[in-house]
Symmetry: C2
Subunit: 183 residues, 2 copies
């Protein structure tokens, strides 16, 4: 007879108000759907969604599998993906064998960088198209010129926008240093 000890794994959900878990899982599902809309696997979105609201912020491999009702394999693959695209990170506590995952601070500027890369790819495609039309009448070239120009514009401007965001954030945290983390 085998008795599994799961108490440590369940606590994260059951320690809460019994009304909460349902809403939490609903949130997790919604993040899953959003990720799917952006072209990422739904399960990667579920993991990310849970890490956004979990307590504590660090969650183990096993805890994720238990709460999201997913196989170990799935968790392993999807956390690898999320780490690779810069949205979460692995944290290992000293003296602990198991790994934990958490949302990576500034995960979002990582996403912005990816978007910029995509925009660059679109600009390059437009340029490739223009070389195909180099002998064509100008009115036929216009379509691709517009595509190239707007992507070049965004490629130039989005990094500046990101920089401005970083600056705003930094100055905000200076005038308000760590007040949030006391309570």
């Amino acid at each position: 007879m085998i008795v599994l000890e799961l108490s440590n794994v369940k606590s994260s959900v059951e320690a809460l108000n019994p009304e909460q878990p349902f809403e939490q899982m609903h949130f997790v599902e919604e993040v899953g759907l959003m990720f799917e809309m952006v072209g990422l696997p739904r399960m990667s979105g579920r993991i990310f969604g849970w890490l956004l609201i979990s307590n504590p912020a660090q969650q183990s491999h096993a805890a994720l599998a238990e709460i999201l009702q997913a196989s170990k394999g799935s968790i392993s693959t999807m956390t690898r993906l999320l780490i690779q695209i810069g949205l979460i990170e692995r944290v290992s506590l000293p003296g602990e064998r198991r790994d934990y995952f958490q949302i990576k601070p500034h995960a979002w500027s990582q996403m912005t960088k990816q978007r910029i890369a995509q925009i660059a790819a679109f600009r390059q495609l437009a340029e490739k198209g223009l070389t195909l039309l180099e002998d064509a009448p100008p009115h036929l070239q216009k379509r691709l010129q517009e595509m190239r120009d707007i992507h070049a514009f965004l490629e130039r401007e989005l990094p500046l926008l990101d920089e401005r965001w970083e600056l705003e954030q930094r100055s905000l945290h200076q005038s308000n240093p760590e007040r949030l983390s006391q309570s």
Copy 2:
């Protein structure tokens, strides 16, 4: 015995330099792959890609099916999708029964608008998550606050960026009025 009259349909490709078609179809495939990366059906990308380089810029239903080796059904569904998301438009010539499609001018600011809508959805999700954590310690809320704040920032700034683009374009075309379409 049935004889199909296809000559009118083939002309669009065969009228060109015999080296070109291969490169053209390569371009079309690349656009297809890009669309797939962004989460849209590959065939919709092929149609869009061909409409970027086709001569004339307007292409009929039948011409698209022939050149892209796709079924009528596929073309019908995918053009509907592309019209719905604002990337192409249907043009009908007076006295002609068939419809033509072409790249919609300013297709790209349409795409920007969609991106902004997606960003708004992410911000709303973050807010929903924050209400789940309203009684949680502040350090747990930070993850979602960062998510909300950056998306609110982009939601505010991207429309301004788009406006600036429109302005730049308009002033460019005033100082250089239609010079491109003479040649």
